[in-house]
């Protein structure tokens, strides 16, 4: 069975961009029919822009501007579909590859650049409204699933979901990978989510690989099937089909927000690039596999669909230009990034004064002053 053969798979657009809903997709078609041209075009622009950003960031890493870059190349549809399905009041917990998601929520891509450049361990303030309730990246795999669940518990305790008012009710969506799914924390997050009936969507991007380890090592069984054991509805979706990804995410988030409890989505996709710029995929996977997945590329697929729907050549050119502009802007601003004052290290270890930190910071200031003195 190839990863996309599960009879439960939800897919709307075939790899060649034609509408060809799988049986499981039928019930989502109304959600897709309701999408306006403008919305569909936004999906496309989101994907194109972030791919341009991704290429730019990879180049910046090659030029020594970044320590590392984990590309989202290939996973754009899973991310755009789910992020566009969320409402402004929803809370987003990414893993570390959700560049598309964070951008859609309003996070400045430069904040991710600063993280990967070694200027911050975070990047943005989730409580600043301009970041769309988007939490920062978590690098210890799976840890964020518990944070998301805890936040969801708080929404339940505060009566911020299930009131029946979709404008006000809030939900949480948390992203994690096929590799991360093996972590104990993900299990505990599902246990707590089910126990407290959090308004939460567990969004697993199964990109077939955890660095060099194929998903078959994590599980011989489709990962979406885990959810049932916790009493959570779950769905497998073609994660390279932005329409399907949008529709299943929207349905799941709407249900969660309305008080239906947690649910899970497994988006079947592919990490077309390297794990990070430090990785060498030729060591562990075949070019035949890479080519097969290139044929299922999410951007090409939506483009064919939009073309068939009559989108103009101009629209596609504009989208590309928008991507180039983003990439250029990122390059320019990356080159302008400065360093960090040494005080940064001490500034926010604690929120209140702490004797040892104060002492060490003072020591370092004196020491640096003496070194400068000595150097004169």
């Amino acid at each position: 069975m190839t990863p996309l053969d599960d009879p439960a798979l939800v897919r709307v657009l075939a790899a060649n961009g034609t509408l060809a809903p799988t049986p499981e997709a039928e019930r989502y078609l109304p959600l897709i029919d309701a999408l306006t041209d403008a919305e569909l075009e936004t999906f496309y622009r989101d994907m194109v822009s972030i791919r341009a950003f991704d290429v730019q960031a990879t180049n910046l890493q090659r030029q020594g501007q970044l320590a590392l870059w984990p590309p989202s190349f290939g996973q754009e549809a899973a991310q755009v579909g789910s992020a566009r399905a969320a409402r402004p009041q929803d809370h987003i917990f990414p893993s570390y590859r959700e560049h598309v998601v964070t951008r859609i929520r309003g996070v400045d891509p430069l904040d991710i650049i600063r993280l990967m450049r070694g200027l911050t361990h975070g990047g943005w303030d989730p409580s600043d409204p301009k970041n769309g309730n988007t939490h920062i990246y978590t690098l210890v795999l799976g840890a964020q699933t518990l944070h998301a669940t805890g936040l969801g518990m708080g929404l339940v305790f505060d009566g911020k979901c299930g009131t029946g008012d979709p404008e006000r009710d809030e939900a949480v969506i948390v992203y994690y990978g096929d590799g991360a799914s093996s972590q104990g924390d993900v299990h505990e997050a599902m246990v707590f989510a089910a126990s407290f009936q959090t308004p939460e969507v567990f969004f697993l991007q199964n990109n077939q690989w955890a660095i060099s380890v194929p998903v078959a090592t994590q599980s011989r069984t489709p990962l979406y099937k885990r959810a049932a054991g916790y009493g959570m509805p779950s769905i497998q979706v073609d994660g390279n089909d932005v329409l399907a990804s949008y529709a299943v995410s929207k349905a799941a988030l709407d249900e969660a927000r309305a008080g239906g409890g947690p649910r899970a989505i497994e988006a079947m996709t592919y990490r077309r690039g390297a794990h990070t710029t430090s990785d060498d995929p030729t060591k562990y996977r075949t070019s035949a596999e890479e080519e097969a997945w290139a044929g299922r590329d999410p951007i090409a697929r939506l483009r064919t669909f939009l073309e068939a729907r009559g989108a103009s050549e101009q629209f596609f050119e504009d989208a590309d230009a928008e991507g180039r502009a983003l990439a250029d802007d990122v390059r320019v601003r990356t080159n302008e990034l400065g360093g960090l004052p040494r005080s940064h290290m001490f500034d926010s270890v604690y929120s209140e004064a702490h004797a040892l930190i104060t002492e060490e910071q003072r020591w370092l200031d004196d020491y640096e002053a003496s070194m400068e003195g000595g150097a004169q």
Binding site: H121, H135, V140, G150, G152, D158, E188, V349, Y350, E352
Partner: protein, 325 residues
């Protein structure tokens, strides 16, 4: 107003007051609801504040700490109970790599007012994992605050101060002393959370420790007095940061210090305090700072805990050794 009560009741009263005064405070842990915790510290709180403020969680420590982080992100102030010292380790990643670092990771934009209550230490004759003193793991971790009360009054106030702290606090409760009574002044706290305190004045040797060990140090000091040695006893109260002021003042007067702890000695809080006091009071010291610790073995079967745990005699032996320099 003062009231006489055991430490477990003082903690209960302190938690109650925090629950009353701040509706964002919530308690979570295993068996803290109808049972009131295996040590009954939370007794009656669920029935008074309801199951949304006093929560019996699923049985998963990483889950408890990890979801508390999410709750804190949502504006709550979770107070967690880990049932016994030896069961905190499944939560270690969430404590060390997450809770301790989240404020720093957010450059101060997110506070993490989470308290982790852990009954710790030996002297209760229990089976494995129920008698450990894991403080060193936490004091070595930047981003955590670590405290331990040794009296009912401190228990009452320190738990409230810990809950008020915007930072994560590991709150170590000396389980052997849960039933030790003391006067609680419910009007005002005596000291800030991170102050150490001289609990007995003396001139010859400075004895330092925390939690249940303070009682043992006081016993040793009494015995020493009968042998003509005057010991000053200091209750650390805060294990991270350490309030060195009173300790250094004392050592500069006595020239001698013994640190005692139940935890294994190697790479322990006692090592830190010995090294730092030596560095800061080098010329005042007549003898090296001596350490009396649990041995560097797993906490032994209960029948040997009397041999394993430092008692007044072992402390006096160190006092004598110190005086012999």
């Amino acid at each position: 107003m003062t009231e006489n009560m055991p430490i477990s009741r003082a903690l209960n009263a302190g938690l109650r007051r925090s629950l009353e005064t701040n509706d964002r405070v919530l308690l979570m842990g295993e068996d803290i609801g109808p049972l009131g915790g295996v040590f009954r510290v939370t007794e009656g709180l669920q029935s008074d504040f309801g199951p949304r403020r006093v929560i019996d969680s699923p049985l998963a420590e990483s889950g408890i700490v990890g979801t508390a982080i999410g709750l804190a992100m949502g504006g709550f102030r979770p107070v967690l109970e880990i049932q016994f010292d030896g069961f905190v380790f499944p939560a270690f990643d969430q404590i060390t790599s997450q809770l301790a670092k989240i404020t720093n990771r957010h450059e101060g934009a997110l506070q993490m007012p989470v308290v982790i209550r852990i009954p710790y230490g030996g002297h209760i004759g229990a089976i494995e994992h129920h008698q450990e003193s894991p403080e060193a793991y936490f004091t070595h971790t930047p981003g955590l605050r670590v405290v331990s009360p040794s009296t009912a009054n401190d228990a009452y106030w320190m738990i409230q101060q810990a809950i008020d702290s915007p930072d994560p606090v590991v709150f170590l409760e000396p389980k052997a002393k849960y039933w030790q009574k003391g006067e609680v002044d419910t009007d005002a706290p005596a000291l800030p959370l991170h102050a150490s305190r001289v609990v007995r004045r003396g001139t010859d040797v400075t004895l330092v420790g925390h939690g249940a060990m303070v009682t043992t140090l006081l016993q040793a000091a009494s015995l020493a007095e009968s042998e003509g040695t005057s010991c000053e006893v200091i209750d650390l109260r805060s294990l991270s940061p350490v309030d060195y002021g009173p300790i250094l003042d004392s050592v500069r007067r006595t020239g001698r210090m013994v640190y005692a702890q139940e935890a294994p000695g190697f790479t322990s809080l006692g090592s830190e305090i010995a090294a730092t006091v030596t560095e800061k009071a080098f010329f005042a010291l007549e003898a090296p700072v001596l350490r009396v610790s649990g041995f560097d073995v797993p906490f032994p079967p209960a029948k040997l805990e009397g041999t394993y745990l430092p008692d007044a005699d072992r402390i006096l032996e160190a006092v004598d050794r110190s005086l012999a320099y």
